[in-house]
Structures are given as C-alpha cells and as structure tokens.
C-alpha cells in the first residue's frame, strides 16, 4: 500500500470543489438560512391550529370522541415530528461534516482509559457512523491503539444516543425524557466501556485482528467549504428523513389508535412500576427485536400513556436500539464469544439499572 500523498491532486476535496465563498455569497447563505428558520418556526407554531382545522372542520370529526381525538393526535404529531426531524437532521448533518471516523480515531488513539471513555461516548454522538461499518471501525480503532474499553464506549454510544431518537423523544414525550435518555445513554456507554476495559479482555479479540499489521495509511482530511457542509446537511435530510418517515407515520398512526381507543391504565398491570420483573423482561425482549428509533418511540409514547412505567419503557427502547442480534452476529467476526457475552451482560445490566432507577425516582 503506497501512501496516498497524491490524492489531493486527483480528487478534488469535494464533488464540485467549490471555490471559497465570497462575502456576498456568505451573506446570501446567512439570509437564506435565517429566512428558512423563521419560516419553519412560523409554520411550527401553527401546527396545532392546522391539525384542529383538518380533523374537525375538514373531516368533520367531533372533538372529544375517540375517533376525533385519534385524528387530532395523528394530524398534529406527524407534521410536528417530521418538521423537527428535518431541522435537527439538517443541523446534525452540518455538525457531522466536521467529524470523520478517521479524525475520531486520531483523537482517541493513546488516550488514557477514563478520559478516553468519556470522549469516545461523546464522539459517538457526532461521528458519522453506519452500523454496518461497526466491524471495520472496530479493527481500525483497536489496531491504532485505541484501548478496547474506549472502543466499546464508542460502539455503544454511536447507535444508542442518536439525533433521531432524541428528536422523537423530545417531540413526543418532552425535553425531560429526551435529556434523561441522552444522559443515561452516555453514562451506560462510558461505564460499560470502562468496565470492559478493566476486565482486560484483549485476548478475546479474534487472533487475526491482533496479528493484523496495518501500514500507516494516512487518509487525508477533506477540506470542506461551507457550501459543502450545507450539502452534507441536505444529503442527510434526504437520506435519513427519506428513510424513516414511513416508520414515523406508521408509529404515530399506531400511537394515535392507542391514544384514542385503549383504556387508561391498560398497561399498568404488565409494564407498571409494581411489576418488578418487567424491567429485565423488557431488556430480554428488546435484544432480538431490531428497530430504529423512529419506529420505536411512537409505540413507547403510547405505552407510557396507558400506564407503563417510564423506566421500563426506556429500558425496552435502549435494549432494542443498543443490543441487537444482527450486530452481535457481525461483531462475532472480530470478537470471541466470551467477549460478546460480557458486552451483552455489562450493557444489559446497565440498561436494567437505568430502568429500575427511573421507576424508583419518577
């Protein structure tokens, strides 16, 4: 493998290799951005009125009836969540253009464990990461000297604490639940990674990974202009919102049905605070289930509304997102079964503790 010093000549840093912005163009971008955000807010604040208009005036539903309330719920929550999702995904898309897995690896390589775990969990939120590159990323981190525990902190945080989960939790359940989820998600990633590091399980990485000698291929940083970063944001919106909107609409439709028709307190028996076994059960059921945040949050909201306890429901959601069977199967290629078992055990225990904690304090 030759060092790729000549890469820059061949590849323009970006598709269109845009020239630096002139100040006039900068002002244009700023004004367009401000106008866009202004328009967004103006529309967002009118959503409830619009939903009432559609449900009651246009479709002739009666306020207070089961069907009427379900309709109102659907026509209010769907545009609200989709608008929030678009705005946040666009913002995060721009933010992510500042981070690459290569840069994150450089930051984490040779960091001490405790500091490294915290940094890795935080970088897990902003580093662009597709779950199918978990294995190459794992190899890249470990061979670059990122400690095993720190690598795990990253791998736990990256899928679990993501902008889609946070937007949906904020939009459907309020900022407190979103903040709780983010805080405890980060905490689990940091502590679980730290524990795995303490257990010194390096020899449970598959031998071929440890014997791998990777020549120092230096992938040069791309120089991005602001136009490119805006394009990153736009691509993220097209990719992510284009992919998840179906789940959001379907999830909210199910949620709306439950909201309108299922009696209050229906879930209290099975998923309420009184049922101590519901937390471990929620974690175990969540492992083989594989869904993204977009599909799971509207269901979570409906469960909560009908008397399920917050801790139990959060534990379920975290288990579905963070511990997935397909990911374990892929990770098996680089990890021996013992290490996978420890990974599931430590993260699962962490999620369970979070579940119990919230059931006790809230």
């Amino acid at each position: 493998m030759q060092p790729i010093t000549s890469l820059k000549q061949h590849t323009p840093a970006t598709p269109q290799s845009t020239p630096p912005l002139t100040s006039a163009a900068k002002i244009k971008y700023l004004l367009t951005g401000l106008a866009g955000i202004g328009l967004w807010f103006a529309l967002y604040l009118q959503l409830h009125r619009l939903a009432e208009l559609i449900a009651f005036s246009l479709l002739g539903m009666t306020p207070g009836t089961h069907l009427g309330e379900a309709m109102l719920f659907f026509f209010y929550d769907t545009p609200k969540v989709l608008m929030l999702l678009t705005l946040i995904v666009f913002g995060v898309g721009i933010l992510r253009s500042f981070f690459t897995p290569e840069r994150t690896r450089k930051i984490l390589a040779g960091k001490r464990e405790s500091v490294g775990n915290v940094l890795a969990a935080l970088l897990g939120i902003v580093t662009p990461f597709c779950s199918c590159s978990a294995v190459p990323l794992f190899i890249g981190f470990v061979t670059a000297g990122v400690p095993l525990g720190v690598t795990f902190s990253f791998l736990i945080s990256a899928p679990m604490v993501n902008e889609i989960a946070l937007v949906l939790l904020y939009g459907l359940l309020g900022w407190k639940v979103a903040a709780l989820y983010m805080g405890t998600g980060l905490l689990i990633a940091i502590v679980a990674g730290w524990i795995i590091g303490r257990l010194q399980m390096e020899h449970y990485i598959e031998d071929w990974v440890r014997e791998l000698h990777i020549n120092g291929v230096d992938i040069p940083d791309e120089q991005l202009s602001w136009t490119d970063r805006f394009n990153h944001g736009k691509t993220a919106v097209r990719d992510i919102v284009g992919r998840v909107w179906v789940y959001v609409v379907a999830g909210i439709a199910v949620g709306a049905g439950i909201h309108g028709f299922v009696p209050e307190g229906f879930m209290a028996q099975i998923m309420g605070k009184g049922a101590w076994w519901s937390v471990p059960a929620a974690v175990v059921i969540g492992i083989p289930m594989y869904s993204n945040a977009a599909g799971i949050v509207p269901v979570v909201q409906a469960l909560l509304e009908k008397g399920a306890a917050l801790g139990t429901v959060l534990a379920f959601m975290m288990s579905v997102i963070a511990l997935s069977l397909p990911e374990m199967v892929i990770l098996r290629k680089v990890l021996k079964p013992q290490l996978i078992a420890v990974f599931i055990g430590v993260v699962g225990t962490g999620i369970m503790l979070v579940g119990y904690l919230f059931n006790i304090i809230i």
Binding site: P101, P136, V217, V334
Partner: protein, 78 residues
C-alpha cells in the same frame, strides 16, 4: 484499471458499487470492478469506514457513497 469497492454489503455499499459501474460505462474505459466484503481484506487496505473506493491501489474515498461526477473525475484523472 482496477477498481475495488470495499464494504461488508449494506445498502450504501451496493449503491457505491452501482455508481462506480455507471461511471465506468459512461467514461467508456475498460476496468474491472471488484466488490471486497471480507473484513480482513478491507482492513488490509487500511480502511475502516465503509463504503470505500480504491482505484489501482489508491484510496479515493472512505465512509461515503461517491457521487457520479466524483467517480468520473477519478476514472478520467488517471
């Protein structure tokens, strides 16, 4: 020309492969396109975010699906 698309086989990886294929056809050059999905082989290229495109041993992009103009640029630039 030897083009390798590195990726374990998710949607993004096959999209990258398709774009390279289309770019090769459009440029009218003769090139072999190989999909590398073995993790060990991917790692040996020093790549750890996929999809990645390698042309004649040179890493052209990592961690994203290239655009067609980009791909055309690489193919014609050689």
């Amino acid at each position: 020309m030897e083009i390798k698309v590195l990726g374990p086989g998710c949607a993004k990886c096959s999209e990258a492969e398709k774009i390279m294929q289309a770019a090769v056809e459009e440029a009218g050059v003769t090139a072999t396109i190989e999909k590398v999905s073995d993790f060990q082989q991917i790692a040996k290229h020093g790549v750890f975010s996929t999809p990645a495109v390698v042309i004649d041993g040179q890493i052209k992009c990592v961690g994203k699906v290239p655009t067609k103009p980009e791909a055309l640029g690489w193919i014609k630039g050689i």
